[in-house]
């Protein structure tokens, strides 16, 4: 499933063609993703849904350069990432991807400020510049008053906000959110979704999100369904063509 123009070209931010991912477990081949095609435009909010084992998280890992595909290509903002070395891929991630995980994965011994500052330590920004960026990011997620709190002093929703601040602080090309509301109550989940929507609408962030929750998925611009490693159903796709167009 792919969205392309009539000539088969794509000017999209994320451009995926023929993406395959296989694992071998106990001598058995597991085909997680099969010939997947996808285009995501800048500023779009795309939700991926599907049953467990359908390949959602694997797709997110591949798009984020955390894993490498068995075949196919991924191009982000003109960079073909599938053949990058591990070191290059790490640098690319630092520049282009913001990650939001279900379990927050904040470092418990660091304050909210220090957690958010982590990606900036890799840059050449001065201490004062880093401080400004971190305070801005924490301001965007509404945690200016929790800047020196440790994760254990925050609620689940607040922790996830810190994770989002960490994801946006270096102004990445796109955000990858793996079940960002999966560990939250409905109220907190709604607040997080409001925040993500605000990032899309106000800050024109491109967001790709995996979720099991249809209520959450509904709020995305587009919902794509994965079934046995293939996109089988479109939510609000502009154009859907057969694999040959890929």
């Amino acid at each position: 499933m792919v969205r392309v123009d009539a000539f088969g070209n794509s000017s999209s931010l994320i451009h995926v063609r023929g993406l395959d991912k296989k694992y071998y477990r106990g001598g058995e081949e597991i085909h997680v993703l099969q010939g997947l095609n996808l285009d995501v435009e800048k500023g779009e909010f795309v939700a991926f849904m599907g049953p467990s084992g359908s390949g959602k998280t694997t797709l997110l890992n591949l798009l984020g350069g955390l894993d490498v595909p068995s075949a196919g290509s991924i191009t982000v903002a003109g960079d073909e990432i599938t053949h990058m070395s591990s070191g290059k891929l790490t640098e690319w991630r630092a520049r282009h991807v913001g990650f939001v995980f279900q379990m927050y994965n904040l470092i418990p011994v660091l304050t909210a400020f220090q957690n958010v500052e982590l990606p900036l330590l890799l840059t050449k920004l001065s201490k004062a510049e880093r401080r400004k960026h971190v305070e801005t990011a924490l301001g965007v997620v509404g945690l200016s008053d929790r800047i020196h709190h440790f994760p254990r002093q925050l609620s689940g929703g607040q922790e996830q906000r810190v994770t989002i601040a960490r994801a946006i602080v270096s102004d990445p090309t796109f955000l990858l959110c793996d079940e960002p509301t999966g560990d939250l109550d409905r109220k907190s989940a709604d607040e997080i979704m409001e925040l993500i929507l605000r990032l899309v609408k106000e800050y024109h962030k491109t967001v790709l999100m995996v979720t099991h929750d249809p209520v959450v998925a509904q709020r995305a611009d587009i919902t794509l369904h994965l079934e046995k490693g293939a996109l089988v159903e479109a939510g609000e796709l502009e154009i859907a063509t057969a694999g040959g167009a890929a």
Binding site: L66, I107, L110, L121
Partner: protein, 381 residues
């Protein structure tokens, strides 16, 4: 420097564990320091103490057997010999059996020519020469018993029975932390006054100062040849060889100390290696997140390794400082370990050892962290 906060924040994650690990390093390095001092005290540094231009001559039968006083003149006639002095081991205690003192009856006329590094103020030496019951002691022994010049010191003889009264006429200083500053010298003539006829006119050993250190072996042979086939045959060695043989009397102290040290450090390696492995394992997801946000594999490896090195440096450093303080304030065997000094070289060796243990113990967990795949690590959470 901007990453140091990250390293230190992680160190304090489990305070009790940090304390215990620092304690392991501290105790191990304290032990290292103390054993190094004991080793040096037992003659580990004999090469430093021994004069290259001195030869020691004993009876061929051993230390107990005495030699004739008359040998001194015959030795002086051997080419290359500059000066000859002699000593007699006295063996005595001050006030209490446990207060052993290293007393030598010395040859007043030649002592300073042969041992010029042992400095005595001229006026004190002059007073000593004129005083038959006079004594000169090393500064450490004077400090140990609180003696000062002018004191009357009764020494109970353990070899030469009875109480011997001495007047403290002077205090000598050697080269700091190099020479034995615990000796107690008195005049051989005073000893001769009270000994039996069977050992009158006899001395314990000779120390010969030679003109050229390169001739030490030749002159040793020449001395022994001079007295060969006599009732009192001799055995001569360069002073460094003499000291090395002396140390052997205590058994292989060096091997013992190295063995203890080796076991301690191997145990430390296991303890800290295990601690670091646990520390890395319990924050697998955090390391994965660091990698996800752009930290390289090499950075993560160095990050883990630096934690291990910082622990080693702090814990080991504290242990070494503690060893320095303790060995400065307290010598457990002042009568046996005349030089009890934790040298800067030994401290540096200790520091290098602790860093090596820190690096080795942190290496495997660091490599594990480096190889960690983000996808696998996050799946485990």
């Amino acid at each position: 420097m901007k990453f140091s906060g990250l390293v230190f924040a992680n160190l304090f994650r489990k305070k009790l564990r940090l304390l215990l690990t620092l304690g392991s390093f501290g105790v191990a390095l304290f032990l290292f320091g103390f054993l190094a001092v004991v080793r040096a005290g037992f003659g580990g540094g004999v090469q430093d103490v021994a004069g290259a231009d001195r030869v020691v001559t004993l009876s061929r039968s051993g230390f107990i057997q005495l030699l004739p006083r008359a040998y001194q003149d015959r030795m002086l006639r051997i080419p290359g010999v500059k000066a000859v002095t002699f000593d007699q081991w006295f063996g005595g205690v001050y006030q209490d059996e446990k207060n052993g003192v290293t007393e030598f009856a010395i040859d007043v006329a030649n002592q300073r020519q042969v041992f010029p590094e042992m400095k005595v103020p001229e006026d004190q030496w002059e007073a000593f020469i004129k005083d038959r019951r006079g004594a000169i002691v090393g500064v450490k022994t004077a400090q140990r018993f609180g003696w000062k010049v002018g004191d009357h010191i009764p020494i109970k003889g353990t070899i030469f029975a009875g109480t011997w009264d001495f007047n403290l006429d002077g205090i000598y200083h050697g080269r700091p932390n190099k020479d034995d500053e615990t000796q107690f010298w008195f005049q051989w003539d005073y000893l001769q006054e009270r000994v039996g006829a069977d050992i009158k006119g006899q001395v314990g050993w000779y120390t010969v100062r030679i003109a050229n250190p390169d001739d030490a072996a030749r002159i040793s042979k020449a001395i022994d040849a001079e007295f060969a086939n006599s009732p009192y045959e001799t055995h001569s060695d360069p002073e460094s060889v003499f000291f090395a043989n002396w140390v052997k009397q205590f058994g292989n102290i060096q091997l013992l100390i190295l063995s203890i040290g080796g076991v301690v450090f191997f145990t430390l390696l296991l303890v800290t290696g295990n601690t670091m492995a646990i520390a890395v394992r319990e924050r697998t997801a955090e390391l994965a997140v660091l990698k996800a946000v752009g930290y390289s594999d090499r950075f993560v490896m160095l990050f883990v390794l630096s934690e291990s090195l910082v622990i080693a440096l702090i814990g080991g450093g504290l242990g070494l400082v503690f060893a320095k303080v303790i060995t400065t304030l307290w010598n457990p065997l002042p009568g046996v370990l005349q030089i009890f000094y934790f040298s800067p070289q030994a401290m540096l060796t200790g520091l290098l050892v602790t860093l090596a243990v820190g690096a080795i113990s942190g290496l495997l967990p660091a490599i594990g962290a480096m190889r960690l795949r983000v996808v696998d690590a996050l799946r485990r959470v």
